[in-house]
Amino acid sequence: MDRVTVSSFRCFFRLDLTLVALLVYCSSAVTFAAEPTAQEPIPDGQEWEDWSRIQQARKAWSSDFEQSRYTKLRKVPTRQSGRMMHSPEFGLWVEYPSLDRALLISSNEVRYLKEGQEQDVDDTGLSVVLEAINHVLSGELSPLGGSFDIDLDGDPAANWTLRLDPVTEEIEARSILIEGKAEMPEEIEVDFGHGKELVFELRNQRSIDPPTRKEWEEITGLRKSP
């Protein structure tokens, strides 16, 4: 990036003013385009600020959920209930007690657990979707800027709907829809296309004290190696 800027300035002395103006513009464009925390796709505005502020003010929460899995293999959705817990610091913990399975989604990885044992699942394409949900629940939209078009409808202080549309084909979903009421999410819906859809309806949402790392590891059963 620096090289681009430097070479632009070298040209400054050789070309006429029009070209100089053009080069300076290009140089700045290159500079900004390469910023890793690009904010471009996220619209500015009071409602975004409000939404982010409200979401980030809420620390940790837990809820029960009803999962509906739609697939072309079945005429009716496959339902499953479970528990969810979210901590902006540690991520989203999704637990299916009757299946003895769980899912831990943090900002940059997804871990699958079966009967307390972590499974090595090849989830390329899916993990981005799940990580995006965790970012939204943490009120952080900036990491999603390059991968999704983001749209917010409704009143951030009352009922709102946030829609993420992937901009790259590598992401294994057509859209992600998250509905909420003020600081609490109420429904998460992922449309994978071809009749494949995953819906979480959240119930009994409640704020909880932010867990410490030790508490989080005890809850999730994941002890980190020393």
Partner: protein
């Protein structure tokens, strides 16, 4: 002293063309062969015991290690986001290199899709038998099996991981492949690290290739490390060990040869009447080395680097012939070397051929390293003898001579040498007897490699990211084909599971045993159609779209008519998978043309029973057992050989021959006592050193007793020869490679004991006055 002497190496007559031509041809041939060797030198310890008579289990182990040696592991530690990004970047950068044919992360193969594809195609052969073995032995009817399969499918659809498998479910509603794939990788490592693996496209024992590949990896890691400064990379793999071993072994060869050469130069300086002799000796040593190297290059595909380390002792032995010739020439004042050669032809050829024969006898050993050493030393010595006849006659002996420094030794040293020798002999014998009293065998393959603690630590650390603990026990279950492996496996696992102390960590999920195959065959033949019907009905009753599963029903129907669940079907199917699996998973099983294996990892040692085809994949333990076997085999060969030599000497030289053999034999036994004292045990290499020592000790004893020199306890040539041999073998004791030390000490000890005995006892020829 030597100021007025000038080298006069002018040929006395036109060079003997035949000699010159022959010498030039020999040199050219040896140089050509030697230069072709550099890329083929092995550093793998299993190569030490490889060969035609190799144990089947070692062949398997060797092949297993050969596959493993191609893998380079790179563990990446650091903050989650950074290390993941660094790992992804490293993976993509390594994929661009031609030095690697496959690159992947964690346990995943480079093309998981290919395995999935083959597993889908072969799922009925490989996976259905175990699926049915879990269901039918309970007495379940086809309807019950079908209902449970639908219930499992419904539950699976609720699970988070099912999202990644949905596309294959229309063909595989029995979940044969998803379950196999999830189990195939095993539980994910709890390690907070990423692992990138890369498979070399060529052998890591190719020095140039390996150097270039590791250089590329280093520069890529350095570049990524600059962008992610908090991320740490730990690189491990056989290539690194190989690189370090070759470097250290080359340094050893150079160090040993330089020290021995320096010793020889000093010895030549003080014992020969003209300094120009040093040049002749250097030529002789160089050509002998070249000859040995060329022979090893021509006869062995992958000679081991230790051959050249141990073979460095050749310098001290082959220089004997040159010294012998030069000393006799100066003593007899012969005008040409050829004339001297005529005079000493008998003892020179006799000593040379007996040592060459002794060395070549090593070629009968089952240990390839010993065969290589035998050829190296034997051909090296033969080259040295050839040089005596082809090279020396090209020059005229120097006319200006000085009094050798060795003759100026203080008189009291000569007078009291017997007493000094007796004291030294007594002390060494006492020490040796103590060792012999505590003698024990200690076969440890780790003594064959220079310890590389930092690399070993890095290796353990990198493998930990694969979920492998240092305390786990690794085995290879082997057989002629994968079906035999499966039978062995189920037999061994059954025993392992019955013992609470042994936990089998690794399972093999697509190796149906013969019982499962028979059960599947019977079930499909008698209930195949009924199951299909029941399954269709159960799907419908549970609100599944039955038509979406048409691909499954079509394939099931075809399978019931064609598949007979034979061993051959299984072998062919596993071979297909074996061909596409790469990376760490490739070690998961092997189905070759004549043998197969499957690994097993347990928490405690597996108690084996007769008939078990299992070998510990821990190379050290298994090779130790083999080395112990080879040591016993070598002893059973060497002891009768020595007895035969003793009898022959008794017949030819009568009492003198017998006494010489007994002295040499006693020296060898005492040298093993010294090895016990200094190394805490005796092994194959100590025994080999003793055998070489016997040959040399016998030479010296026989020569001293048959051709005594008045006024001297030992003939000059024997004295000088013994000094050079002791020098070259004792230098081996300073090697960081302990096995080299074993060999060096036992050979040195044998020579020392025999010469000390000769000096302290041979009084009757002494004429001090």
């Amino acid at each position: 002293m030597g100021r007025n002497h000038r080298t006069q190496e002018i040929p006395v007559k036109p060079l003997p063309r035949a000699s010159l031509l022959l010498l030039a041809t020999l040199v050219a041939v040896t140089v050509i062969f030697s230069t072709r060797l550099t890329d083929r030198i092995s550093t793998d310890v299993t190569d030490l015991v490889s060969g035609a008579n190799q144990d089947f289990s070692i062949k398997i182990l060797s092949k297993f290690r050969q596959e493993g040696s191609r893998i380079l592991l790179i563990r990446i530690d650091g903050e989650t986001g950074q290390r993941k990004a660094a790992a992804r970047e490293l993976e993509s950068r390594l994929k661009e290199l031609v030095e690697f044919r496959a690159v992947g992360m964690g346990l995943s193969p480079s093309s998981p899709g290919k395995i999935e594809e083959i597993l889908i195609e072969e799922r009925f052969t490989l996976l259905l038998p175990d699926f049915l073995a879990d269901s039918v032995p309970d007495g379940d009817s086809p309807e019950q099996v079908a209902n449970r399969a639908v219930s499992d499918l419904e539950e699976f659809l609720s699970s988070p991981e099912s999202l990644t498998f949905e596309e294959m479910l229309p063909r595989d509603p029995l979940l044969l492949v998803p379950n196999a794939l999830l189990k195939l990788k095993g539980p994910a490592s709890q390690s907070e690290a990423e692992l990138v693996w890369a498979e070399f496209s060529e052998s890591v024992f190719d020095h140039d290739f390996r150097g270039a590949a590791l250089g590329e990896v280093d520069s890529i890691i350095a570049a990524i490390g600059e962008r992610y400064p908090d991320v740490e990379f730990t690189v491990s793999g056989s290539a690194l060990f190989s690189e370090a071993n070759v470097a250290s072994s080359r340094a050893e060869v150079l160090r040993i040869n330089l020290i021995v050469l320096a010793g020889v130069i000093v010895l030549a300086w003080i014992s020969l009447p003209h300094p120009s002799a040093i040049v002749h000796l250097l030529v002789l040593v160089a050509l002998a080395f070249l000859g040995g190297t060329a022979a090893v290059a021509a006869l062995f595909q992958h000679p081991h680097v230790l051959t050249f380390v141990i073979g460095s002792a050749l310098t001290g032995v082959c220089v004997d012939y040159g010294l012998h010739l030069l000393i006799h020439n100066s003593q007899s004042n012969d005008p040409t070397f050829l004339e001297t050669l005529r005079k000493i032809r008998g003892p020179l050829l006799g000593g040379g051929i007996s040592t060459i024969t002794g060395s070549l006898l090593l070629c009968f050993s089952e240990v390839s390293l010993l065969r290589e050493i035998g050829v190296f030393v034997g051909v090296g010595l033969a080259s040295a003898l050839a040089v005596c006849w082809l090279y020396f006659p090209l020059f005229r002996p120097p006319s200006n001579k000085r009094t050798p420094l060795i003759l100026r030794i203080p008189r009291f040293l000569v007078v009291y040498s017997s007493a000094f020798s007796l004291i030294a002999l007594t002390a060494l014998t006492a020490l040796s007897l103590y060792g012999l009293f505590h003698l024990r065998w200690h076969d440890d393959v780790r003594q064959l490699a220079k310890p590389q603690p930092s690399l070993e630590k890095g290796d353990d650390y990198a493998r930990e990211a694969l979920g492998v603990n240092k305390g786990d026990f690794f085995y290879l279950i082997y057989g002629e084909d994968i079906n035999e492996v499966a039978r062995q496996r189920s037999r061994i696992l059954e025993r392992v599971e019955n013992r609470s102390s042994e936990i089998a960590f690794s399972q093999q999920f697509f190796l149906p045993d013969s019982e499962s195959l028979l059960l599947a065959k019977n079930f499909v033949e008698s209930n195949g159609a009924k199951f299909s019907e029941s399954f269709r009905m159960a799907l419908d009753q549970n609100s599944f779209e039955v038509t979406t599963f048409d691909p499954f029903f079509e394939e099931w129907s075809a399978m019931t008519e064609t598949l007979d669940f034979s061993d051959r079907d299984v072998a062919q199917a596993t071979q297909r998978i074996d061909q596409v699996v790469d990376g760490p998973l490739a070690a998961g099983f092997h189905q070759g043309s004549s043998y197969a294996w499957s690994p097993l990892r347990t928490s405690a040692p597996v108690q084996t029973e007769p008939g078990d085809k299992i070998v510990t994949a821990d190379q050290d333990e298994s090779i130790n057992q083999i080395l112990a076997l080879y040591r016993k085999a070598f002893l059973s060969f060497a002891v009768p050989a020595l007895i035969i030599i003793t009898i022959l000497l008794g017949i030819i030289f009568r009492k003198t021959g017998l006494v010489s053999a007994i002295i040499s034999f006693a020296s060898v036994i005492l040298s093993l006592g010294l090895v016990q004292v200094f190394y805490g045990g005796v092994n194959l290499f100590g025994v080999v050193g003793a055998f070489i020592g016997f040959c040399l000790a016998l030479d010296y004893t026989l020569f001293s007793r048959l051709t005594p020199e008045p006024g001297k306890r030992l003939p000059s040539s024997v004295t000088v020869s013994a000094i050079t041999s002791v020098l070259s073998f004792s230098i081996l004791c300073t090697s960081d490679i302990v096995a080299v030390g074993f060999l060096g000490l036992s050979a040195t000890g044998s020579i020392l004991f025999s010469t000390l005995f000769l000096v302290s006892s041979n009084r009757k020829h002494l004429n001090i006055s």
